[in-house]
Amino acid sequence: MLSRESSATLMSAVTAFLYREARLQDEHQYEAWEKLWTDDGVYWVPANGADIDPERQMSIIYDNRSRITLRVRQLMTGKHFTQTPQSNLRRLISNIELMDQQPDDGDIAVASNSLIFESSLRDDTLWAARNEYRLRHVDGELRMAAKKVVLVNNDKAIYTLSFLV
């Protein structure tokens, strides 16, 4: 359990990190976003609920670190037509909390809500999600070791989700 003082310091660093991640995503700064990951990062967007077993059941995204790189490299070709032209995006991040249950390996468990407005060739689309992170201090900087994005409507048929969520 963190002291109140260290908790406030950490909360401030975590909040800055999440805002920065959100801005990099909204502005399609793919390489800078990729640098936020640890070497063992896992990017997970489950389908059909929050608690499926991604090793057994289909997820919308279940990227290990090398697949995160592949995703970024595809976006950077400029020929990933679903993002050529790119979606216009702005997202709000809120309800940031340090979780009561913290992992005992030193990682930091954080959760937030996000609301994303996407304007694409198809139409305007509103996305909402619960985001759960494991953050880690690496060389004095926060990094993402895991990000799980639970879309509120992930049990329904959803449109193409080709920006970084």
């Binding site: 289909m58 919308i60 995204i61 592949l70 070709t77 990933h80 959803i158 449109y159 193409t160």
Partner: protein
Amino acid sequence: MNVMTGVSPWERLIRPDRVHGSLYTDSAIFEAELKNIWYRTWVYVGHESEVPNVNDYVIKSIGPQSIIMTRDEQGKVNLLLNRCSHRGNQVCSYERGNARSFTCPFHSWTFANDGRLVGYAFPDGYEGQDKSQLALGRVTRVESYRGFVFGSFAADGPTLKQHLGGAAETIDRLVRSSPEGEVEVTAGFLKHRVKANWKFILENECDGYHPAFVHTSIFGVADSMIGKLYGGASTALTRDYGNGHTEIDLRPEFRKRGAPMSWFGTSEERLPDYTARMKAAYGDTAAREIMIDGTPHVMIFPNLFIAEIQMFVIQPLGVDDSVQHVTALQFKGAPDLNRRLRQQTMGSVGPAGFLLADDSEMYERCHRGVLARNPEWIFLGRGEKRERRDELGFTVGHVTDEVPSRGIWSHYRKLMEPA
């Protein structure tokens, strides 16, 4: 029938090498398709492995209609319409589960999972009523082929086997990649919605002309072997099986490579357990042939697309509103292969898939494109002069030729024209 010209409207809209753009965008045509295709011919609904146990159920669909696929107490698979026979309320609101009966929440009418009405609240008000007249609606004919369950709302018509025709062999070929000869659908579905007509999806599934361009971004960064299969020098084929079923036959390319599991970008060495089980099941020679040929790439009209490692079910909701339900194929008795199939499927398809996000972008742009009224036609003449018959009499062409689209539209016209 147009009295003035003596030709049916369908004959005017569907020509051998071109079809009219309004076929994708006219809502009256969409309504006619529901009646003449979706609510008449054989439509794929679900797989027996999705309801493995007695009393299992799963929600499926035929077009916009919600269908409850159940396995009843006798072990029989039923396709029931999710509509109370009293006032029409949906009797099932969960995606899947295990239930002996469904009780409508509106007035507590209760139906057995074979569709029979077994009880209603305050029965004295229904004195003399024959309950058997008030069962849940059901899909008129239900047949399955190697575990794939199809339904047809027509009381009469071709059997499923007749409908599948030559394409039945592709399903035979598919299940042979399991050492136990069975496919399982157990990995859950991604549901990818597109703002486009369902026929753009249908036609794209065996369009071998687009991958080199639409998927160039992922082929370029992933060191994929797929791109070459769809190149100008490829020996792979497009095939029209009739009845709207179409295929991209990649076996000529895989046989040239002659390496087992190369079709899936892997090798026997990386799948020792699977390889051993296949050899034990089929013998060394046959196992080797199966593992070189790989699984089919076949579009079973109108809605089941088997795409080597995954299967898609196309669902039309409206003239410009469609859902692609997709899951990894799983082969019974092949756990090490299945794990890779799930991983590859998650990477490539669904709303965030490396391949399908771009395909779906094309569907949506095409739909908006054909709303423009000139040149009116979609031109489907590629390879018309060089198509030929294969040894079984099916029309085949180069992998990039539009044999599949022409086959689909020729069958479509037969279904849409009044008998």
